[in-house]
């Protein structure tokens, strides 16, 4: 299943190059522009990765269209509040938002009935693969060591990264499950996000953390922590020596969170197409590339069609994982 996911992903990335050609096809209906302030809803807090990407995009859309793009952080309910705010807004193009991977997990764990069908995907702007991190004094040198130890001593090791059932928890439990182990062979210790989890890791409070590798990059480069694996199928440009799970794991397990710009359900074609085109242009700019590089991330883009397909695939895959590890409602 994960193979399929990454396949779709790769196609999407490749699509970025072709997008200029494809947008020309429906260019005649894409001339919508906003003539007053637009609200940009971010379901997560200020200072996080979703916030940073969305604010950057909002600022560049603002420069492009000459109307204010006001970012509002609607946090709460592990993402439900903000996603509902996007989904329930008037589909007039004056409310868009950062729909994230949680749109494919929340409904499985019973937080909400809302799915990706209740929003209008516009474009994918970031792919954030998970990682496996340990402290610099950890006895584990490779992911293999770690997995072998966890297999032999289930329940001894602890890991953290986000709340219970959050995306980084799924990354760990899903990996264990895919490798034929008990998803609780490594116990999950919930935290209020990646930063407190990293603090726990360097303080020796937990043995493992599985947040986005981009979150741990500074600590890895500093030698405070070791990255045993990158849950992706190609190495991170900033940390090329970190092994990728698609190669070192038999199951080829990979998992990445993603960030999109999306609108409310029923957003007219003309409007979402205009946004898609604008975002596509922005992601090809030098400014955007520089911003991405500073965060150790690659420039990615998927248009509406690819993104919709991607979300459907993600939804099935993550649903299977959630059911396999016993968190489904």
């Amino acid at each position: 299943m994960t193979r399929k996911m990454t396949h779709t992903l790769l196609r999407g990335v490749a699509a970025a190059a072709l997008a200029t050609a494809s947008t020309a096809a429906y260019a005649q209906t894409c001339d919508w522009t906003p003539d007053r302030a637009v609200t940009y809803v971010v379901p997560w807090g200020a200072g996080g990765g979703t916030d940073a990407n969305s604010r950057m995009l909002a600022t560049m859309l603002e420069q492009k269209w000459g109307v204010p793009f006001n970012v509002v952080n609607r946090t709460g309910g592990n993402g439900v509040t903000g996603h509902s705010a996007i989904s329930n807004a008037a589909p007039d193009g004056y409310t868009v938002g950062a729909v994230t991977v949680e749109i494919n997990t929340m409904h499985w764990v019973g937080l909400t009935d809302m799915t990706h069908e209740n929003i209008a995907p516009i474009a994918l702007i970031d792919i954030v693969p998970a990682s496996v991190l340990v402290g610099h004094d950890s006895p584990f040198e490779t992911l293999e060591d770690l997995m072998a130890h966890a297999r032999a001593n289930p329940g001894e090791l602890t890991a953290s990264g986000t709340s219970l059932g959050g995306i980084w928890h799924l990354a760990l439990a899903g990996m264990l499950n895919a490798e034929g182990m008990d998803p609780e062979a490594i116990r999950w210790i919930p935290s209020q996000g990646a930063a407190p989890a990293m603090q726990e890791l360097i303080a020796g409070g937990v043995d493992i953390a599985t947040p986005a590798l981009s979150e741990g990059r500074a600590l890895v480069e500093a030698g405070e922590i070791r990255a045993l694996a990158y849950m992706h199928d190609s190495p991170m440009e900033a940390l090329p020596d970190v092994p990728v799970t698609s190669e070192v794991l038999e199951s080829g397990w990979t998992l990445a969170a993603y960030i999109t710009i999306s609108g409310p359900e029923g957003l007219p074609d003309e409007i979402s197409c205009a946004y898609e085109q604008a975002v596509n242009e922005i992601t090809q700019s030098a400014e955007w590339a520089e911003f991405k590089a500073s965060r150790g991330a690659d420039v990615v883009f998927m248009g509406r069609e690819e993104l919709t397909e991607f979300m459907v695939a993600q939804d099935t895959a993550l649903g299977e994982t959630i059911q396999a590890i016993g968190l489904a409602e």
């Binding site: 970012v71 919930p190 965060r295």
Partner: protein, 500 residues
């Protein structure tokens, strides 16, 4: 590293100009209810693209420090503390300004903030590796003990009645349990409202408890206070008084600023805890502990120094580990990384000149804050001269808009109303408000870290003492709690035993 190069950069017109503009911006934002340092910094980010690294860092730091100080201004004038850190002493500063001493109080608070900030930056420049080592040893066990220690301040920030102080603290803690619990993600007391899943946010809670309850009280007094005119001291006199009073309290400033820096550097604590602890310690060692909470300057100076020092301290984990302690430092790290500066333990070797230049800019930001802060204090206190019939409706509207601005949702206004009514009931019941705010601020930290530790230890309580730092902190906390409980119980029994 080249001292002169650093000085030349820091004192260049470009950097000084940036800092000055940002201190003005920060004081404006901080003094406006509902506008926070985080919002101010987030709006600044697009401008930092056109700046060099030092200028960008200077802009962020200058904005943050002044915004945190300016939270005291709205606290004193409108009874709307800008941050939970200012809430520790808002009762004192509000009463002082109601009695016509707004300017001397705020000037003294400004001096304290400036000194706190300067001391914080100096400690940061000299001892970051040490602070980083301390911060490195903090897991959920240590944070739990530190927060529990912070809770003990409730006894020292409340009123004379022991059971009422405890009732207040517990009401605050009860409010803090609203929302998704950390251990299993179960929504508690949310009545099906998704927005309550994140818990009651601090700013609307404080606006309700302090500002709305004050407005309600004023309304209930009817028109009898209509003719009471508030006075504002002349500028020169206020400055003289503030300087004189501040001069007597320099020891407090040293104590609170150094303590504040350390607490600020620790994960999970930050400026809020620093201010409350500084205020409580100040009262414990003061010659007039009974005057606290009734309009006493000493606690304001201690709390103000500590919270600005903590703002500097909070940069330690951010710079050394790249782990942001709060949203402001998270945004700041993002900006620094865009400028090619990667936080990490090597930052003092690899980018020494740049780092010390940034520290130099921090220092200048804290010094220039004196002017911007002074200007805003002078202007903002004029507000007190405005007739009640204009001022009160304005505060009401500002309080509601401010709450709305924080979350972008009308739920904030309902929280303001609910907590305003609760606070009115508490005032009627003679239950003090300050311990409740402390409970709201610390409740989540205490519970989350307790639960996380218990899950790590699989329910084994002895694990709370298994780590060195945790054992020391734990023993200290238990001793202090035992003493406080013993004294509280004794004074309660003394008071309830009939006189012979």
């Amino acid at each position: 590293m080249d001292m002169f190069a650093i000085l030349a950069t820091v004192l260049s017109p470009k950097i000084l100009g940036t800092i000055f503009l940002c201190t003005l911006y920060g004081s404006f934002v901080g003094a406006m209810p509902g506008l926070t340092a985080t919002m101010a910094v987030a709006l600044l980010v697009p401008f930092t693209w056109f700046m060099d690294p030092v200028q960008a860092a200077a802009a962020i730091v200058a904005t943050t420090t002044t915004a945190i100080f300016a939270g005291d201004i709205s606290g004193a004038i409108l009874k709307i503390p800008g941050t939970p850190a200012s809430a520790a002493y808002v009762e004192d500063s509000y009463r002082l300004s109601q009695s016509g001493k707004s300017r001397s109080t705020l000037f003294a608070a400004l001096f304290a903030s400036v000194c706190g900030g300067v001391i914080g930056v100096l400690i940061l420049a000299l001892a970051t590796p040490l602070l980083a080592n301390l911060s490195r040893s903090f897991s959920s066990d240590e944070v739990f003990w530190l927060a529990t220690l912070g809770l003990s301040c409730a006894v020292l920030v409340g009123g004379p009645s022991v059971p009422r102080n405890f009732a207040s603290l517990l009401i605050g803690l009860a409010i803090a349990t609203i929302g998704i619990d950390v251990a299993v993600g179960h929504p508690r007391f949310t009545f099906g409202n998704l927005e309550l899943y994140d818990g009651v946010s601090f700013i609307p809670a404080m606006i309700g408890m302090f500002a709305l309850s004050e407005l309600l009280r004023n309304a209930a007094l009817g028109h009898q206070t209509k003719l009471v005119k508030l006075t504002v001291e002349p500028l020169g006199e206020a400055l003289a008084t503030a300087t004189r009073r501040f001069g007597q309290l320099w020891k407090n400033v040293l104590r609170s600023a150094s303590g504040g820096t350390v607490i600020g550097a620790l994960p999970g604590a930050g400026a809020d805890v620093a201010a409350w602890i500084a205020y409580a310690v100040s009262r414990r060692f003061s010659r007039n502990p009974e005057a606290y909470g009734k309009g006493h300057l000493e606690g304001i100076v201690d709390g103000g120094a500590a919270n600005n020092a903590a703002v500097a301290g909070a940069w330690t984990p951010a710079l050394v580990f790249g782990i942001p302690g709060d949203s402001v430092t998270a945004i700041a790290i993002g900006v620094l990384m865009m400028k090619g500066l990667t936080p990490g333990p090597d930052i003092f070797n690899s980018d020494a000149t740049l780092v010390y230049t940034i520290f130099g800019a921090f220092l200048m930001a804290n010094i220039l804050m004196l002017f911007a802060g002074g200007l805003v204090v002078t202007l903002a206190t004029q507000v007190l001269r405005v007739p009640r019939a204009i001022l009160m409706p304005l505060i009401l509207l500002l309080a509601m808009i401010g709450g709305f601005a924080i979350t972008g949702s009308t739920l904030a206004i309902w929280i303001i109303l609910a907590l305003g009514l609760l606070a009115s009931a508490m005032l009627w019941a003679k239950i003090p408000l300050a311990p409740a705010i402390l409970g709201i601020v610390l409740g989540r930290i205490v519970e989350d870290n307790f639960m996380v530790s218990m899950m790590k230890a699989r329910g084994d309580l002895t694990q709370f003492f298994a780590r060195d730092t945790a054992a020391v902190l734990g023993a200290l906390t238990l001793i202090i709690w035992a003493l406080l409980l013993y004294r509280a119980l004794r004074s309660f029994l003394d008071a309830t035993t009939p006189h012979k």
